[in-house]
């Protein structure tokens, strides 16, 4: 009896992740996809066709004929959307590279730190998440604006005599994204560096490598799994980022998250914004699939 119960329980435990995936990812995605095939209407909800669940199968089929890919065609006709996708990907890629350049030395320093203070450093990386993300972005507005703290500081030490215009430019977005996603990059790199066998670096140095060559040819390749994981954790959400470009960016910055928000709220065009979201997901699925393969490969090589 207990065996049956435990078998049943383990089945149930396996079902939970699939049920979660179904209810919180697949079904919402299909709802979005279905709206993207509809047409806008001045109604509640603001699109047609709307299915009547009591209309019978023939009624549903009748209405399903109204579905069309017009919204996707529309996305290719207006160059705005293409530009927004491209500039989002570029901004996200630049930010990812900048985050990597800042995060790697930090993670490397953490991994080299004395064992006793490593848990404290790890805690310090996670701690900023305990203050609201939005408030931290607002703090950057106070720092970066023309009469803000950064310009006050730079002018008081006579580095500049004109305030730098950083807020409402792409630079502010880079700073915002790098700042917000830095822990996502530091943590995976740190965990791969910490696991590394440091006798390998010592061996490389003994065999005549310069410290830099030893780092570049031994340490860095061994931390590559962490680098890839960190880059994807930064790149994927940065492409669809809405809050940072909205608060720190200017009118010249075009990001797909902001375009989507405008379509959805200002234009009330749910079908087009759903089509934008569906394509955004497809763009992002490719790096995720690549990441999964890389991870699986790294795991099987490690065994």
């Amino acid at each position: 009896m207990t065996r049956v119960a435990s078998a049943l329980f383990s089945r149930l435990v396996i079902i939970i992740p699939y049920a979660w995936l179904l209810f919180f990812f697949l079904i919402p995605f299909f709802i979005v996809f279905r709206i993207s095939l509809s047409q806008t209407a001045v109604a509640m909800p603001p699109y047609t066709p709307v299915f009547d669940l009591f209309g019978g199968l023939s009624g549903i089929l009748e209405k399903a004929r109204e579905f069309s890919f017009d919204n996707y065609v529309w996305l290719t006709e207006d160059v705005l959307y293409f530009n927004a996708y491209v500039s989002s990907v570029i901004i996200a890629a630049v930010s990812t590279v900048l985050t990597l350049l800042i995060a790697y030395p930090v993670a490397y320093g953490m991994a080299k730190a004395p064992k006793t203070i490593r848990p404290t450093l790890l805690m310090l990386v996670i701690l900023p998440f305990w203050t609201s993300f939005l408030i931290r972005v607002y703090a950057w507005i106070a720092i970066l604006k023309p009469e803000g703290l950064l310009n006050q500081f730079l002018m008081s030490i006579n580095v500049i005599d004109q305030p730098l215009i950083i807020l409402n430019t792409n630079w502010a977005i880079y700073i915002g994204i790098v700042y917000s996603y830095l822990p996502f990059m530091v943590l995976p790199i740190y965990s791969s560096l910490e696991k590394m066998d440091h006798t390998l670096t010592e061996a490389a140095l003994d065999l005549g490598c310069t410290p830099f060559t030893a780092f570049w040819r031994v340490t860095f390749p061994l931390s590559l799994a962490g680098v890839v994981a960190g880059c994807l954790l930064v790149f994927i959400p940065a492409v669809g980022e809405f809050v940072i470009p909205d608060l720190l960016g200017g009118s010249e910055t075009l990001m797909i998250g902001k375009t989507l928000w405008n379509e959805f709220n200002a234009n009330r065009d749910w079908p087009v914004s759903s089509a934008v979201a569906t394509i955004l997901l497809l763009i992002l699925v490719l790096p995720i699939v690549y990441f999964q393969n890389a991870q699986a490969k790294a795991d099987s090589e490690g065994k």
Binding site: S10, I14, I16, G109, K145, Y179, P237
Partner: protein, 106 residues
């Protein structure tokens, strides 16, 4: 590793400085007399007094704590997957990241 070079220490100090600068500034300017974040008008705890008398904000904080406790408990129960190494759980983890990324904002 034991060999903590100057470069390592400098990168940690700069990295954490970058990470904590906005938070430290927020704390400092919460004691500011003025309403502006950029102008220092003297030390005062008046914003904390105001917070203490703002019932709507205190209520909101209490709701936040309850939501956090309940969702953390549910997440712990659901997240305890027995087959962490299987492909399905990896897909699951990635899929869970989508709502997590969006929830982080609110």
């Amino acid at each position: 590793m034991g060999t903590w070079s100057r470069f390592n220490i400098a990168s940690i100090v700069l990295g954490f400085g970058f990470l904590y600068l906005p938070i430290v500034l927020l704390v400092i300017f919460s004691f500011n007399e003025s309403k502006l974040v950029t102008v220092w008008a003297g030390f005062s705890t008046k914003w904390y007094t105001q917070l203490w008398h703002n019932q709507a904000l205190l209520d909101a904080a209490w709701v936040t704590i309850r939501v956090a406790l309940i969702s953390a408990t549910c997440a712990t129960v659901l997240g305890r997957s027995p087959h962490w190494r299987s492909f399905a759980s990896r897909v699951f983890v990635v899929a869970c990241c989508f709502p997590a990324w969006s929830m982080r904002r609110s």
